[in-house]
Amino acid sequence: MSSAREEILGNIRRVLKDRPANLVQDSRKQVVPARGQLPHVDQIALFIKEIERVNATTARVGRLADVPEAIAAFLAANNLPSEVRTGRDQVMRVIPWSDHSAITVNQGVAQPTDQASVTSAFAGVAETGSLALISGPDSPTSLNYLPDNHIVVLRAGQIVGSYEEVWQQLREKMGEDWPRAVNWITGPSRTADIEQELLLGAHGPRRLHVVLVDEEAE
């Protein structure tokens, strides 16, 4: 095994021994589209516009306490049972689920029979209406992919202009405890593999619903 490694690296070094001085590396520039570089209130508006453009739906509430009601409304509007699977992360723990006894809340990894999941996002990016979700002990990745309906709770303060800002936050907050998965999600699952006809719900969720919370975390 290691001989393949040595041979491959050896080949590369032999070919590149006359490599040019590293001008490219030093002169490279990061191009951040101006589209997302706006005052925060406009970033929120752009985020909503962009994520709806890619077939997600949104609801906006004032406080985390209002989240269960928004979720109940989404489930009812789509004729879904009042049952969700969630993680146990900080946001999920703060949401007062018990005030809304109509919704049954199960915790843990997604099961094949689950119809809807609720997860919290690490960030939202205005540029393209993309969500960043991270895996962790209290936020299993399967919740983002297995159920037919994926509901994401995002606080307005988590919306930023560009992906670069999210990477920087991740480095600062996660550092050595880098998460196994960072899932960028931009709309519900789709395919155009049959005669280029766009269809939602290929293998992942058929619906993506974002509940945007204006208040900051308590």
Partner: protein, 473 residues
């Protein structure tokens, strides 16, 4: 899969008279280029991003050894394992070995062009392991035992009727008389069949759109979510990628993401872009227990530093296929292997040898559209020309065309002789071509067999140009 690139001309002939294929290609020609155009029009910085994307890849290729070592060290630090493979064979052996160690009976796969290049499914089957492709298009062609006809839309050559027939044959548990006329119904059936496969699989195999040296992560992009189910549910995740997929930092990955989806499908961002780093952490409730990366060379280091060095910048978006008049006429299967279009016509001679792929670099009008739209600015037409030059130098072309090209080269290097010859020919053709066309000409059977050769009218371009210059004076 055994390449049939050596009979490209035959393949093309068949493709041109295949009505269902032509119908599918007409749809492709309307779809992808327009979607790309719209997405690019929405982003003022797109051309700057292309420059930045090109520079990232240039940096990567200039320092490939150090980025690979950095990547490897980070993967190990995060608890993953890195395997190096010189050839397709070595890569297959490693992957089959890992599957056997895991006691795997079935493995789910998300579409990987490297998987196609190394014919991984055949190796798995030979070892008694059942590979299940999960990308809808790739699943369809797996059932039909066909290679992909497009690097991002593998079943683009098929009509809905053909997919319906395939499903009726493969899904015997379903009623034989069910109606399969709507794409939605076909998708739901595939979703249902594959859902259980995702849950049952022992190992998940994915490719990688990028390898991030900074964090030791792989980046996998899909719209269906199949790659995420493939790499989250089974207890072992194996990713296979070629060496040049490396990028230095997360910001660099972002730049490539910004040009990839727009170039490929005309989306601003694909639905799912996943950065996967190592196996599940101790406290995690899901995710694979083991995370393996197989780094494949298979001819890449031979391309490094040579005439085709810049081809290694390719991010496999498929835009050059969608904009190529040849690809749009004959489709991907005519190219005879897993790659196609301009990128395939440059890459395949590198991987398979020019001897068996000699027609591919000649199957181009050199219109330049591929270079014009390439997100990493690969000079594809120059490279196609380079292959033609090499063919000429090695005299692998037929002795007749070799002689013809030599005569032509002799003439064009002597302008006076060339002009004399052209005006001599023009006046003769005018004299004999009174009907305005020829249905027979010496040495031009290849042309006149299928269409008339128009008789020239007026003088040559250079003659007209010189006259107009004289008039100006």
């Amino acid at each position: 899969m055994k390449p049939t690139s050596d009979v490209f001309i035959n393949n093309s002939r068949e493709a041109l008279v295949n009505d269902t294929l032509q119908e599918a290609l007409a749809k492709l020609a309307q779809g992808f280029p327009l979607k790309r155009f719209n997405a690019v029009s929405r982003l003022a910085e797109f051309d700057d991003l292309r420059d930045a994307a090109r520079d990232i890849k240039t940096d990567v290729l200039n320092n490939l050894d150090s980025y690979l070592e950095k990547f490897e060290a980070q993967v190990i630090k995060q608890g993953g394992k890195v395997h190096w493979a010189r050839t397709a064979d070595e890569a297959c052996k490693i992957i089959v070995g890992l599957c056997e160690d895991a006691g795997a009976r079935t493995v789910t796969k998300s579409k990987s062009m490297i998987g196609e290049e190394i014919a991984l499914n055949e190796s798995l089957e030979d070892a008694g392991i059942v590979p299940v492709e999960t990308d809808l298009g790739e699943y369809i062609i797996q059932l039909r035992k066909e290679p992909p006809s497009h690097i991002i839309a593998p079943a683009i050559h098929l009509t809905i009727e053909q997919v319906a027939d395939t499903f009726k044959e493969a899904h015997q548990d379903y009623p034989a008389d069910r109606a399969l006329t709507e794409p939605r119904v076909l998708l739901d059936e595939a979703r249902q069949v594959l859902r259980q496969r995702f849950i049952d699989a022992d190992v998940g195999i994915t490719g990688a759109n990028m390898l991030v040296a900074e964090t030791g992560s792989i980046v996998v992009v899909t719209n269906e979510g199949n790659a995420d189910l493939t790499m989250t549910l089974p207890k072992v995740h194996i990713a296979v990628a070629s060496l040049e997929k490396i990028v230095p930092t997360l910001e660099d990955a972002t730049t490539l993401m910004r040009v990839l989806a727009r170039s490929a499908t005309g989306q601003d961002m694909s639905v799912y872009t996943t950065l996967a780093t190592g196996p599940k952490r101790d406290e995690d409730q899901d995710g694979p227990e083991a995370f393996h990366i197989v780094l494949l060379d298979n001819g890449r280091t031979d391309m490094l530093g040579g005439d085709f060095h810049e081809m290694l910048r390719c991010i496999r978006c498929g835009a050059c296929l969608n904009h190529c008049p040849i690809y749009k006429s004959v489709g991907g299967h005519a190219y005879g292997w897993v790659y196609s279009g301009p990128m395939g016509a440059v890459l395949m001679p590198n991987l398979l040898g020019i001897g068996k792929t000699g027609d591919l670099p000649n199957a181009s009008t050199l219109c330049g559209k591929c270079e014009e739209i390439c997100p990493v600015r690969i000079p594809l037409p120059d490279m196609l020309r380079q292959w033609r030059t090499r063919q000429f130098d090695a005299a692998v072309t037929s002795s007749k065309s070799h002689f013809g090209l030599k005569v032509w080269a002799y003439m064009v290097k002597r302008p006076l002789l060339y002009r004399f010859f052209v005006s001599f020919m023009l006046s003769n053709l005018r004299k004999f071509g009174r009907k305005g066309r020829f249905n027979w000409l010496p040495f031009a059977k290849g042309w006149t067999q299928v269409r008339d050769f128009p008789a020239p009218e007026g003088q040559s371009f250079i003659h007209q140009y010189l006259m107009s210059q004289k008039r100006k004076r």
